[in-house]
């Protein structure tokens, strides 16, 4: 990818800034060639990545290097895009919103700084990946379990700060954050929560602190560079019980939500239940051309045959209970009472007890099995997600499924939908799988995405996280009082980052100098 300069810098200023960066981190850790830029493009983009092309990458190894880098960035008014490991697939990977931004790659900062088994937390640098943390816990025989997202190649901190999620008990990752260390755009080092006391003993134990709570302010935002994250991990349970349920009919979604929700609300089930459609399952284990070589949406009879052969339902969900065996057995009975009136076969729970192989436990073990889904269409497969949140009501959920499915099929894309049931809401993940080399498909997907956004916001269902190319679009949907929240976010941005050096455009938050870039 050819060089696009940062908007306010000349070529000689840019070169001069890179020289200063090289003095700080060493020339090896400043990347500036065409091939290097390719390594930081959005690999799953609808175009060839040019709309979010970075200009260069700089990789520091500690806090003081970051502070020096920010000093230089302020002096040159050079924009930086911090990434932890840059594996934000489907949302832009390591690429910036604004072309010409320099990627600040924190992956070299990969120390597990502390793990407290007794109290169930760890303190991590941004470069610690899910695999890294897992290996660390295993190697040190620490009996704490993780929650991992479907693609575990990313950073534990990066994922939590983006409000990523996993299916295990501690699956709402952002809710496990307890205390951050952050470098502000002006270089000041801040610790949030009780860590604001210099000899704090509870920084990663007690989440709120005194006064406004800042942990969430550094999630999905561009207010600072997070250099340490306190994060809660689950103590290894005595046992787990796991159940897979297949629902044969598309109409089964609504009643399943209505029967599961009270259990979720009352913490009989303590983590979000993901109800997935058959494309979600089939794409994890096969490719479309094994079933159908024609154009357009998979015909119903082909889909039915595929479900029969793979022995999967129209919808599938798993419930795993974690804890003391007598408690989870009691909860399992309550779940059976709720479900058995509507399902044809007796629930077959799988029991895991301490000492059994960990692979059978339902523990969060990092994996990349979800990545197989990208091969659905073959070739240079990719994905883009739209995930609105709605009330946990069966009728509304069934209608949302119908509406989203019609949109997918209108544009010739196989419908992939899953519904993650929480205690007071449900998030409908629409995973748009595609082939990057099919221009008709990629053009259609942009239209599909925009329609999905419009449909959802018309009903008051909002997106929880989005891709670089749609950050402004999604920000626009939060239109209460003329988008006052957007203006509040930008007011804070201008105060914390007057030179606009950190992640311009992230979540639609533009520094004053670039506000025209919104268009």
């Amino acid at each position: 990818m050819k060089l696009t300069l940062p908007p306010r810098l000349s070529e000689s200023q840019f070169k001069s800034a890179l020289n200063e960066f090289s003095q700080i981190v060493g020339a090896q850790w400043v990347l500036n060639s065409d091939e290097d830029r390719d390594g930081y493009l959005d690999y799953f983009s609808l175009d060839s990545g040019e709309s979010h092309a970075p200009s260069a990458t700089i990789a520091p190894v500690n806090v003081s290097q970051i502070q020096e880098i920010l000093k230089v960035a302020n002096a040159y008014k050079l924009p930086l895009w911090p990434v932890s490991r840059g594996k934000n697939f489907g949302y832009g990977a390591a690429a910036p919103v604004m072309p010409g931004t320099v990627v600040l790659d924190l992956s070299r900062m990969n120390q597990v700084l502390d793990v407290d088994e007794k109290n169930g937390y760890c303190l991590l640098e941004p470069g610690v990946g899910f695999f890294d943390l897992y290996h660390y816990l295993q190697a040190n025989n620490i009996k704490l379990w993780m929650s991992v997202p479907g693609n575990s190649l990313g950073s534990v901190a990066g994922n939590a700060l983006e409000r990523g999620a996993g299916p295990q008990l501690y699956g709402v990752h952002t809710a496990q954050i307890c205390g951050l260390e952050v470098v502000l755009p002006d270089g000041q080092l801040v610790r949030t929560g009780t860590g604001a006391m210099s000899n704090s003993k509870t920084w990663n134990l007690s989440p709120y602190g005194y006064g406004p709570h800042w942990d969430q302010m550094f999630c999905q935002s561009n207010y600072g560079v997070v250099t340490k994250m306190g994060f809660w991990l689950m103590p290894e349970p005595e046992a787990t019980l796991s159940l897979d349920i297949s629902l044969p009919d598309e109409e089964d979604l609504g009643w399943a939500v209505d029967r599961l929700h009270p259990l979720r609300l009352r913490k009989v089930i303590e983590q979000n239940v993901g109800i997935r459609n058959y494309i979600a399952i089939a794409s994890a284990m096969s490719q479309r051309d094994q079933w159908y070589q024609g154009e357009g949406v998979l015909p119903d009879d082909v889909a039915a045959g595929m479900r029969r052969e793979l022995d999967i339902g129209w919808w599938t969900f798993n419930i795993t209970l974690y804890g003391y065996e007598e408690v989870i057995r009691a909860n399992a009975r309550l779940i059976e009472q709720a479900l058995t009136p509507k399902i044809s076969s007796e629930p077959q729970w799988r029991l895991w007890q301490r000492g059994d192989p960990i692979e059978r436990s339902g523990a969060g073990i990092p994996h990349t099995r979800s990545m197989h889904r990208l091969n659905w269409w073959g070739g240079r497969g990719a994905h883009l997600g739209f995930s609105p949140t709605l009330p946990p009501d069966g009728e509304k959920v069934q209608a949302q499924y119908q509406r989203a499915r019609s949109r997918f099929e209108q544009y010739g894309i196989d419908y992939y939908g899953s519904f993650a049931l929480s205690h007071r809401s449900i998030t409908n993940v629409n995973q748009i799988l595609f082939n990057r080399d099919d221009k008709q498909m990629t053009d259609n997907i942009d239209l599909l995405f925009r329609d999905l956004v419009a449909d959802a916001s018309e009903l008051g269902y909002s997106e929880y996280r989005t891709h670089l190319s749609y950050m402004n679009l999604v920000a626009e949907t939060f239109d209460y009082n003329d988008n006052v929240l957007w203006r509040l976010n930008e007011k804070l941005k201008d105060t914390l980052d007057p030179n606009g050096i950190l992640a311009p455009g992230k979540q639609g938050i533009w520094p004053a100098a670039y506000r025209d870039e919104r268009q």
Binding site: D38, Y43, D105
Partner: protein, 115 residues
């Protein structure tokens, strides 16, 4: 693979001994280190997808036949091909930058996979 490594070291040893015995000793140490480094890098950077049963291994088995999907068993990987795939990606494999996998790391991987 160990056997092949030993063979390669022996051959290089033989050549270098003809030139300088001290150089040959250093070369043995760096070959072992390279092999250990290559394995370490493979485990960290590649194994998440390329381990037995992994997503990439399964896709490669589809193309190359069952039990033929493991990268570490391949005899046909050329150094330039490895470098190209790592730096540019391939189908649903994403590229890896020179921060994540340095040029030195990449050469250690090339050594590992072409042995």
């Amino acid at each position: 693979m160990t056997y092949k490594n030993k063979g390669k070291i022996f051959i290089i040893c033989g050549l270098l001994l003809a030139v300088d015995p001290l150089l040959a000793q250093e070369r043995i140490v760096s070959m072992s280190e390279a092999s250990a480094t290559g394995t370490r890098i493979f485990e960290r950077e590649c194994a998440p997808c390329h381990a037995p049963g992994g997503t990439a291994t399964r896709m490669l088995e589809k193309r190359r036949g069952a039990d033929n999907g493991a990268l570490t068993d391949r005899q046909d990987l050329a150094p330039e091909y490895i470098r190209t795939v790592v730096r540019n990606g391939l189908n649903t494999m994403v590229p890896m930058s020179r921060i994540e996998v340095t040029d030195g790391d990449l050469e250690a991987l090339v050594d590992l996979l072409t042995d």
